[in-house]
Amino acid sequence: MKSRLDSVRKIYGRLKKNRLAVVGLWIIIILVITAVFAPLIAPYDPNEQDLLSSLEGPSLAHPMGVDFFGRDVFSRVIWGARVSLTISLVAVAISAVVGTILGSLAGFYGSVLDEVIMRIMDVFLAIPSILLAIAIVAVLGPRTSNLILAVSVSTIPEFSRIARSAVLVEKNKEYIEAARAIGESRLSILFRYALPNSMVPIIVQASLRMATAILSVSGLGFLGLGVQPPTPEWGTDLSLARTYLEIAPHAGIFPGIAIFLSVIGFNFLGDGLNEALNPKLKDR
């Protein structure tokens, strides 16, 4: 156990050398804290209307101003973090698990199974992911569960390709043969030997995919296919603010900044992790 903690510390030590990764990590930490403690941090109820101060600019009472319906933008941005992060996280988790299992089975067993799984993935890859997500939500209706489904389905192929190639590399290493020689079953070799050793690119991909997922969720929201009003969500709010952008830019700018920061945070962290977890640099 001690040695596992040690390796976490070592990875953090290498991550620290990359400044952007640290920035990304902090953005994400702040984002997560905001999402978890939204009810405590937000000064107002995100749906509370004060129509008299509609479209009012930033002030001490409303640091990010007020939107068309008289709601506090600051509170909505804070609550929006919760919605965006939850949906993205669940969607990426689902697609990482499903994609990794499919991809590693394809890579490990090869031949017919490989062909079948990967050709299906190719079909999904051929359709632009945002278009696929729009199609799924348009058909199934804009509910949160469908939104998660849409985002995860469009990310599964990426994970399966990465898992497949990682498992293909590990599959031919000698410790796999040694594991066969000590009588481990094929499934146990896949899940206890090949897969754990292929996790690095998958973890990195998960971080990068979080960024895309946040973008997809807000994109769908912006198009009216995502989270439905009055639930606070960055993309949906941005779309609403678009109408009054000339007279009240603050109602759109702040949700936009939130999207921008969270996307960039996950991208920075993903790139940093890619370097920090690179096995070639492991013992330095």
């Binding site: 410790y175 043969e177 040694a178 020689a181």
Partner: protein, 325 residues
């Protein structure tokens, strides 16, 4: 009477490759008795590793095809055994050590997790007992600070330590047969000697049979009881270590012995001309004849059969009588 534990009969193996069919093994006959160390020697590419891996059926199919022969373990043919039964034998009854200790351990688990796992799998004991057995087997291979080793990851150990861990893992389930595929090639000479003496002692203590694959005749002289010499997919000579090393009957092992540098006698170092033939298009007849100084017309037409020249000493050469008057 010594018991014949493992018997390889007329084993023939083919690999399908893009360039053609590689005739890796043609006709391999070997037997392993309980409590002995059999050395399997030959040049790179002669089929030593293929033979040893085929015993545990570790060769991937395709491209491998076993086209003939049987491998009997206590009289049961391993080549026809269902996969689940085979998994009980792998590691449990027949264990294997590989050439590269550096890469033969799973990098993401500690030594303890891996070792206890194997023990729990084959000896049907709980984690606590497995730990006790793990500690004991590490001490058996000369790793005295076993507790510390168990908590470490493979990359934190040295090559010699890792190879000992591999041996401990192979022996922890008290196998009847140990297959060691060049277990010392990747190690320094001083560690090599230690590992070999561990294998020798374990054989004596547990009555285990060992199939030692090596290309080092010094290793054979040091630890083996019997030796089999392979060339291009055939066993060309086998017998007691002293018989084969002192009075080799086949021109190939003779050549091998003459290629060892000796410090006492100052003479020109001889080598066998040429190299192991391409096994996609092997020479007709005796596969050694293009490199053999004694070959005659019969050698490129007929495959010599393995015949008993002296009790327990077998040779496959058309001219062994003429060469050894």
């Amino acid at each position: 009477m010594r018991e014949k534990i493992l018997e390889i009969n007329h084993l023939q193996i083919r690999f399908d490759t893009e360039d053609g069919v590689v005739k890796a093994l043609e006709d391999v006959n070997l037997e392993l008795y309980s409590g002995e160390i059999l050395g399997l020697v030959g040049e790179t590419g002669c089929g030593k590793s293929v033979t040893s891996q085929s015993v545990l059926r570790l060769l991937p199919t395709p491209p491998t095809r076993i086209t003939n022969g049987s491998i009997l373990f206590h009289g049961k043919n391993l080549l026809e055994m269902p996969e689940e039964k085979m998994n009980d034998i792998r590691g449990g009854k027949i264990a294997m050590i590989f050439q590269e200790p550096m890469t033969s351990l799973n990098p993401v688990f500690t030594i303890g997790e891996q070792l206890e796992d194997v023990i729990a799998l084959h000896r049907k004991v709980d984690r606590k007992e497995a730990n006790v057995i793990a500690v004991k087997s590490l001490v058996d291979v000369g790793l005295d600070d076993a507790e510390v080793i168990l908590s470490k990851y493979p990359h934190e150990l040295s090559g010699g330590q890792r190879q000992r861990v591999m041996i401990a893992m192979a022996l922890s389930c008290q196998p009847e047969v140990l297959i060691a595929d060049e277990p010392t090639t990747a190690l320094d000479v001083s560690i090599q000697a230690q590992i070999l003496s561990i294998i020798k002692h374990l054989k004596q203590d547990h009555g285990m049979a060992v199939l030692l694959v090596t290309h080092n005749l010094g290793v054979v002289a040091q630890v083996c009881d019997r030796v089999a010499v392979m060339y291009a997919g055939y066993v060309v000579e086998k017998g007691d270590k002293f018989d084969v090393l002192k009075t080799p009957l086949h021109p190939y092992p003779r050549g091998l012995l003459e290629s060892i540098p000796r410090s006492r006698k100052v003479r020109e170092l001889r080598s066998i001309p040429g190299s192991v033939p391409n096994l996609i298009n092997p020479p007709e007849g005796c596969r050694f004849h293009p490199r053999c100084p004694f070959s005659t017309g019969v050698c490129d037409r007929e495959v010599p059969v393995l015949e008993e020249a002296a009790p327990g000493h077998f040779v496959a050469c058309h001219h062994w009588r003429r060469l050894n008057p």
